[in-house]
């Protein structure tokens, strides 16, 4: 079984409300046994309630796998970068340092790296990933590209220019439609 080619994961932090339903639900997947493989970050809480769900972007050429000295990170033919193989991972954290998106986390209790595998047990069986199923704001969405293009004004992007490096990912990031500057100090909205 593999993940259907026309089903994709779309991230849109502009919709995120920071509730952490994704983080908690990830831990509930039977194979995860109470441990979440994703995380959620405030960009800068002092300035804004803006949060970002951090799931694996599933790079076409994953840096995490390239730097792994134990060859513990494998990509399946359907483009999903799997979490570290338990028998191989030596807990060196090379992948944690190398990932351009800050995805993998080292788990000291297990001396292992663990990260999102796009809910492979679910998505390869035709179901949605847990995070995208529960997300109450559409910040993490699973579906066909044409559906997303029809419903939303934001446009999906999967090419990231990071310094001189160009990273192509399986997961799509929605970019704002027609956004200009965003004011985030409440004082700017008040009568003074």
């Amino acid at each position: 079984m593999s993940v259907p080619a026309d089903m994709e994961l779309f991230l849109d932090p502009s919709r995120c409300i920071g509730c952490q339903a994704c983080y908690h639900a990830c831990a509930e997947c039977e194979t995860h046994r109470g441990r979440s493989m994703i995380h959620l970050e405030y960009v800068d809480r002092s300035e804004s309630p803006q949060t970002v769900p951090v799931v694996c972007m599933h790079c076409e050429e994953p840096a995490c796998a390239a730097v792994c000295p134990a060859d513990a990170i494998k990509k399946t033919p359907d483009g999903v970068v799997q979490s570290a193989l338990e028998a191989r991972c030596i807990g060196c954290s090379n992948c944690v340092l190398a990932c351009p998106f800050g995805v993998p986390r080292y788990v000291p209790e297990l001396d292992q790296m663990m990260k999102c595998d796009m809910c492979y047990d679910r998505t390869s069986a035709g179901r949605k990933p847990m995070c995208a199923t529960v997300c109450p704001s559409g910040a993490i969405a699973w579906g066909r590209r044409d559906e997303i293009l029809e419903r939303r004004r934001e446009r999906p992007a999967r090419v990231f220019e990071i310094g001189e490096q160009v990273v192509r990912t399986k997961v799509q990031m929605m970019s704002p439609a027609g956004s200009d500057s965003l004011e985030l100090d409440v004082a700017a909205f008040m009568a003074r």
Partner: protein
């Protein structure tokens, strides 16, 4: 006695709150669950569909229920982790009887004998009304109905009221006054059809998370979103227009927006003439609310007020939604009416994408206010002071109309009555007033004066600690019934597991007690469905007509919207279509509102406004969610949120401890310095107890119409706490 045991540490050791992280059976329990039960989340009025995973007679997890049309599998963290209440070490498994130092386990026979005796002693010495009943809006419709009947027929007391008094009564009162019926006017499905949305005092992202998707879908379709809130909440970040209203100034702001609509000719004259009464008085009332004057009162720029009116007035469709932010005020009802005035004047109601509603915060915030557990209400949304309504109910219950108790005290007035010695005994189910009522020290001293107090609860809440007898009741998933969601949809709650240990279903406990005070045939129920059958038959012809709703019909249709007057009737998702309102003449009523200031405004001694609210990971008084480890870890303790300008004046930075004092009490908390709140306001969430309870500072002042307290505004002063301050 009703004085809580002094050794709090011992109480916490025995009854929590303990942080629970692991499902019953542990993470390693393998294989398919024995059952997946399609039911609803117990937290908040959205009532998301969810499948509870059952193994070996315990709820061990969840699976999304993607077919349920409201949330389509979506959940918030409370929904994801709610199952951790099952198998919880704090769960009450036996009746408890108070000892000099704590509690001891007792048999049901002994516990019920003691309760019967406590009630009889109270009522024989001081009259029927000296025994009061507190119930709650997280109960099913069946239990809400039963509590009203229990109080009035078995205990024959007029004093029954519920915790919805802290929640949706201001909106409910406004709905009745304006529309002649108390229900949100639209299904959520109307939200994405609106081209302008005003969200006033509703932190949708944290309090009704899955409705965020509806707001974003509306924006995807081109809707303009106007958010009115003293804070940049997660949804305010994406608003097309953000109005950071000064707490307590909502009615002035609404009047100001309506003023501009009138000036610019954006009133729907045809709608007003054909379907409403009273607009002339409103037009006169808003005449003085020029953008400049309104700006001065409400603390938002005049240009933003004009812009709001333009966006709303010019949009072909629009919905106005609000929540506790405008309702928790001594003018809560007026605030809601000022919103309704704007909606009616622009004719934006009773059509697809047009409407109005309160977002009820409690699990059964809608249904809990319909079936007679309120001090002023009889089943079917009937009025306890209306002779015809009394006759209908008395006849069905087989009692003489004159024996049916009359108007009682609101739950927010009962403390005063206890302090006066009028109320001497109390039975509480689904209400944690020690945490949830304002001026918490006053609540505690009231409970301590009671001669007799019995609590029915699944965990020992801070309030139940005061009880003489505690009866172990049922979690939501341990009983069946119905709940009416915040959009008016009646849905089915399924019994996934049986109550553990010697705990029992709430309705069985209440019926057992009732039969000690009333003839058996008045409480003959063998199932919650039998209670529902009586409820729906008695609601027939009432304002909240459930007659055509059956359990089967709910199952077949993913819920049924009331009113549903016959078995063939499909239910009524959208109210007021064709401009037909529920007053006898079919017309809606305008109510002129003049702004008045909050009960306690800031002054030189207390110069900062305190406002309170929720965080996404906690629910109400926290009696359930403060025991769920992952939810507590998400936001472990209440933080004082304040703007850098205010923080600088007080010499505070993020992480510093700040002492906040009001005329009622003080609290010391860590602060979170953020640019997302007005510099004249400090925000503290209210889910915590004891030293962390912000309700020790809040004000007892009530809205004279609805008796809702003014949680959202009082005056405080801030100072940096010394290092190592508790």
């Amino acid at each position: 006695m009703a004085r809580a045991p002094e050794d709090v540490a011992a109480l916490v050791r025995s009854y929590g709150p303990t942080l629970h992280h692991t499902p019953p059976g542990g993470w390693d329990a393998a294989g398919e669950p024995d059952a997946l039960v399609k039911t609803h989340c117990c937290f908040c009025g959205v009532q998301c569909g969810i499948q509870l995973k059952v193994r070996n007679g315990a709820v061990v997890g969840f699976e999304p229920w993607e077919e349920f049309p409201v949330n389509r599998g979506m959940l918030c963290p409370k929904g994801v982790k709610r199952y951790l209440q099952g198998g919880h070490p704090d769960r009450l498994l036996s009746p408890l009887v108070r000892t000099p130092t704590g509690f001891r386990e007792a048999s049901w026979a002994e516990a019920l004998d003691r309760v019967e005796q406590g009630i009889r002693n109270t009522q024989q010495a001081h009259g029927h009304d000296a025994m009061a009943v507190l119930s709650g809006a997280s109960l099913t419709n069946e239990k809400a109905y039963l509590m009203g009947k229990f109080a009035r027929v078995a205990l024959r007391t007029r004093n029954i009221d519920y915790n919805g008094r802290l929640c949706m009564v201001a909106a409910g009162a406004a709905n009745k006054l304006a529309f002649g019926i108390d229900r949100a006017a639209n299904p959520w499905a109307d939200i994405p059809l609106a081209r302008c949305l005003i969200v006033a005092g509703a932190n949708v992202g944290e309090c009704f998370p899955i409705l965020t998707d509806y707001l974003w879908r509306a924006r995807d379709a081109g809707a303009k979103l106007i958010v009115i809130d003293p804070r940049i909440t997660p949804i305010a970040r994406n608003a097309d227009l953000f109005l950071p209203v000064k707490p307590g100034r909502d009615s002035a702001l609404m009047n100001g927006i309506l003023h501009v609509c009138v000036q610019r000719g954006m009133v729907d004259r045809d709608f007003v003439a054909r379907h409403t009464e009273g607009f002339d008085a409103v037009r006169r009332a808003v005449r003085d609310y020029t953008p400049e004057r309104t700006a001065e009162i409400a603390g938002v720029p005049a240009a933003s007020i004009v812009k709001a009116a333009e966006l709303w007035g010019q949009a072909p469709t629009g919905m106005l939604l609000h929540a506790r932010g405008i309702e928790h005020h001594t003018k809560g009802t007026e605030n809601c009416l000022s919103c309704i005035n704007l909606v009616l004047a622009t004719g934006k109601i009773g059509r697809p994408g047009c409407g109005y509603g309160t977002l009820t915060g409690q699990g059964n915030g809608q249904g809990g206010r319909e079936h007679g557990q309120r001090c002023n209400q009889l089943p079917g949304g009937r009025d306890i002071e209306n002779p015809e309504h009394r006759r209908v109910v008395a006849e069905r219950w087989g009692v003489a109309e004159r024996e049916l108790p009359g108007l009682g005290l609101a739950s927010t007035e009962m403390r005063e009555a206890i302090h006066r010695g009028e109320i001497r005994g109390l039975l509480a189910l689904c209400f944690n007033p020690v945490v949830s009522l304002p001026d918490a020290d006053y609540t505690r001293s009231a409970l301590e004066k009671l001669d007799f107090f019995v609590a029915i609860d699944f965990f020992l809440s801070e309030t139940a600690r005061h009880a003489d007898v505690v009866l172990p009741g049922s979690l939501q998933e341990e009983d069946g019934g119905t709940v009416t969601t915040a959009e008016g949809r009646v849905v089915r709650i399924r019994e996934a597991v049986a109550p553990p240990g010697r705990a029992r279903r709430d309705w069985e406990i209440v019926c057992d007690l009732a039969r000690r005070f009333a003839p058996q045939e008045k409480f003959p129920y063998a199932s919650s469905e039998e209670i529902f059958r009586e409820l729906r038959e008695l609601s027939r012809g009432g304002s909240c007509d459930y007659y055509g709703i059956t359990y089967e019909k709910i199952e077949e249709n993913h819920g049924v919207f009331w009113p549903c007057p016959s078995l063939e009737h499909p239910g009524t998702p959208r109210l007021f279509e064709g401009g037909r309102f529920h007053h006898p003449d079919g017309r809606a009523r305008f109510h002129a509102v003049a702004y008045r200031p909050p009960a306690e405004d800031v002054d030189a001694d207390y110069p900062v406004i305190l406002t309170t609210g929720r965080v996404v990971s906690q629910y109400l008084s926290g009696s359930q969610t403060r025991r769920i480890g992952p939810l507590v870890e998400q936001y472990p303790e209440p933080l004082a949120e304040l703007h850098p300008e205010l923080a600088e004046r007080c010499g505070l930075a993020t992480g510093d401890r700040v002492r906040i004092a009001s005329r009622r009490g003080e609290i010391t908390l860590a602060c979170n310095v953020v640019r997302t709140i007005r510099p004249d306001t400090v925000f503290v969430p209210y889910h915590w107890a004891g030293d962390q309870s912000i309700n020790r500072l809040t004000l007892r002042a009530l809205d004279p119409v609805s008796k809702i307290p003014e949680f959202k505004v009082c005056a405080v002063r801030l100072e940096r706490a010394a290092e190592g301050a508790p």
